[in-house]
């Protein structure tokens, strides 16, 4: 087994720190024969845990994953990169080779110090319920950030235990996320993703330059993904892992928003939008 470290740019490492926060193997689980609140596939994503513990070290133990290491290791590396985490990845030789290919790709992405875009503020009380709510928001691409107090610049602020968001309402985090979505209104969302339930996006922008990170948690390509970003950006550039010749299709700028289609999304792609 080999330990790898994914930080802003990943690197090899001998071991993980003892106080590192354990993350699950990123993946999609299809529980077609189990009753659930939603028919959507279950996405095991870790971004919400990373943003919840800034400055912490994280580790992915992929040794027990049923997914071949060559598939899951690059996704773990990309996930850590997207959320700016310093993370160790426990994998085998096949995973290391795939990790290194992702590392080579990540090195091609120009640095950009852009603020994360959020529509929703979550006052994190540290509870499991709040964590699961953030997980649900992320899975639905409802952009949030953790705040210490309601932020008037955000369209919606959520504080569990408040009159508007009583604790008992968090017992069904999927329903609560839907309530928040309704309060925000789809037309006011900074980002929408169409054509897949297994892609999680992260948006950064300073107003003149926006960057969209797209992580595909299923280990098969998404053939055709439509993305809508608030703001008018005349120029769009895509960089996609494993697909150096990928071009965006059907780009359109209208109604104060920019849309484009990725014809083929593998594990990870980043789209830069400029005025």
């Amino acid at each position: 087994m080999i330990w790898l470290v994914a930080a802003i740019l990943p690197a090899l490492a001998a071991d993980a720190p003892p106080d590192a926060v354990k993350l699950q193997a990123p993946q999609v689980e299809y529980h077609v024969n189990e009753a659930s609140a939603t028919t959507s596939p279950w996405v095991d994503a870790n971004g919400w845990q990373i943003v919840r513990a800034p400055g912490k070290h994280f580790y992915y133990d992929l040794s027990a994953s049923k997914i071949p290491s060559a598939r899951v290791a690059p996704l773990a590396a990309a996930e850590a990169f997207v959320y700016g985490a310093q993370a160790s990845i426990h994998t085998d030789q096949a995973g290391t080779d795939a990790f290194n290919r992702m590392l080579d790709f990540l090195k091609t992405i120009p640095g950009a110090d852009l603020p994360v875009v959020a529509d929703i503020g979550v006052v994190d009380d540290g509870s499991d319920e709040c964590g699961e709510l953030m997980n649900m928001l992320a899975r639905r691409n409802l952009l949030y950030k953790i705040v210490t107090a309601p932020d008037p610049k955000l369209a919606v602020n959520v504080s569990l235990g408040s009159k508007e968001y009583p604790k008992e309402g968090a017992a069904d985090p999927s329903m609560l996320a839907q309530k928040i979505r309704s309060q925000l209104g789809d037309e006011h969302r900074s980002l929408r993703v169409y054509g897949s339930e297994v892609v999680i996006a992260r948006l950064e922008s300073d107003g003149a330059h926006a960057r969209v990170h797209l992580l595909n948690y299923a280990f098969r390509p998404v053939v055709g993904l439509r993305v809508r970003v608030a703001g008018s950006y005349a120029h769009q550039t895509v960089r996609a892992f494993g697909k150096p010749d990928l071009k965006l299709q059907d780009a359109a700028v209208s109604g104060g928003a920019t849309e484009f289609t990725l014809p083929d999304l593998g594990t990870y792609a980043v789209v830069d939008l400029t005025k």
Binding site: T38, T39, S40, R140, N141, Q178, R181, D186, V193, Y194, G195, S196, E197, V223, G224, L225, R226, Q249, D250, A252, E259, T261, P263
Partner: protein, 333 residues
């Protein structure tokens, strides 16, 4: 839609058009039914003049198939073959004729290529299933039914960018969600992406969604003719056909431009057959009879059925629903 013949339909019936035992189609009889039907609808003496009411040599024609019950129940290739022959006779190059359906596995199981001239395009839109690339990102109906995040249903790109005319060739089938599936369901759910999201648990939003999709331009105005293939049908468990005991043989083809009027006739065909077989009425909305996973039970509904989608489509202006205002020319071949 509803085109030049609102509230009108021509029904061509023949006992010998298909063998009820072997399911073998009598092609000469079907050709005669097609000829008699289209000429009666248009009041023309020749097939050529009749078909010229709807398409011309410069058109690019899409033929919307229905293959959801394939390989057994589908737009009969013998019927589709006659349509294509008539289009070619009008001077439309085979390259400008498209047979299309959303899903590749269903489409390829029928082998339409054996029934049409070389050069005719036979196209599945979603390859692989779930791909949005065959749909137009600019043309969509947006609605949130059950909190799904992808709230768009996009129109097939060939419809918006390539076809100038569309001929709709549905079957006569029961539909567990929509009540029945005929012209409206085939042209609506068959020309848009991401439509299965309208059903969840026992609830289905087909009542309003079918008509809404069908009335969206340019689909609405480019769909110029309905040819309902009722050689075979499904009276329970539709739109699929995994149970042979629910297949039957209406032995008819219905022609018109008004999808609402033809689907109104379809309600009676399916309802009468279900009644004869002792099945629940398609209008039964009792929750006591709604159970999941009992498709083979004719006294059980999978969803709360919504056959009212046809009347709703009529109210959107897609055609005439009132049976007393529908004129049907009955032909016996």
């Amino acid at each position: 839609m509803p085109g030049p013949y609102p509230g009108r339909a021509v029904r061509a019936h023949s006992e010998k058009c298909i063998d009820s035992t072997t399911s073998r189609v009598d092609v000469p009889t079907v050709r005669q039914m097609m000829s008699d039907g289209i000429r009666t609808l248009t009041h023309e003496k020749t097939d050529r003049d009749a078909w010229a009411h709807f398409v011309g040599p410069k058109d690019v024609v899409g033929i919307k198939l229905n293959c959801s019950g394939a390989p057994q129940i589908r737009s009969a290739p013998e019927v589709v073959g006659v349509i294509v022959d008539n289009l070619v006779s009008l001077g439309i190059p085979p390259e400008n004729i498209y047979l299309y359906e959303r899903f590749l596995d269903q489409l390829t199981s029928v082998h339409y290529e054996r029934y049409v001239p070389e050069g005719v395009n036979i196209v599945a839109i979603e390859t692989p299933r779930g791909s949005v690339l065959g749909y137009d990102p600019r043309v969509y109906v947006e609605v949130d039914f059950f909190g799904e995040d992808d709230t768009r249903s996009n129109m097939i790109r060939l419809v918006t960018e390539r076809f100038t005319k569309i001929i709709n060739v549905p079957n006569m089938k029961d539909h567990q969600a929509a009540g029945v599936t005929g012209c409206l369901k085939n042209i609506a759910y068959g020309d848009f992406s991401n439509v299965a999201r309208s059903h969840s648990h026992e609830k289905t939003n087909t009542f309003s969604f079918i008509g809404t999709l069908a009335s969206t331009e340019p689909l609405r105005s480019r769909t110029v003719l309905q040819v309902m293939d009722g050689l075979r049908g499904v009276w329970h468990g539709g739109p699929f056909s995994q149970y042979p005991q629910f297949r039957f043989f209406p032995k008819q083809i219905v022609f018109g431009t008004d999808p609402v009027a033809i689907d109104r006739l379809l309600i009676d065909v399916i309802e009468n057959k279900r009644k004869a077989e002792g099945a629940l009425s398609i209008w039964d909305r009792s929750m006591e009879n709604v159970k999941r996973g009992h498709n083979e039970d004719i006294r059980v509904n999978h969803f709360i059925r919504e056959p009212g989608h046809i009347e709703f489509a009529g109210k959107l202006g897609l055609g005439v629903y009132d049976i007393s205002e529908i004129k049907v020319a009955e032909l016996e071949v």
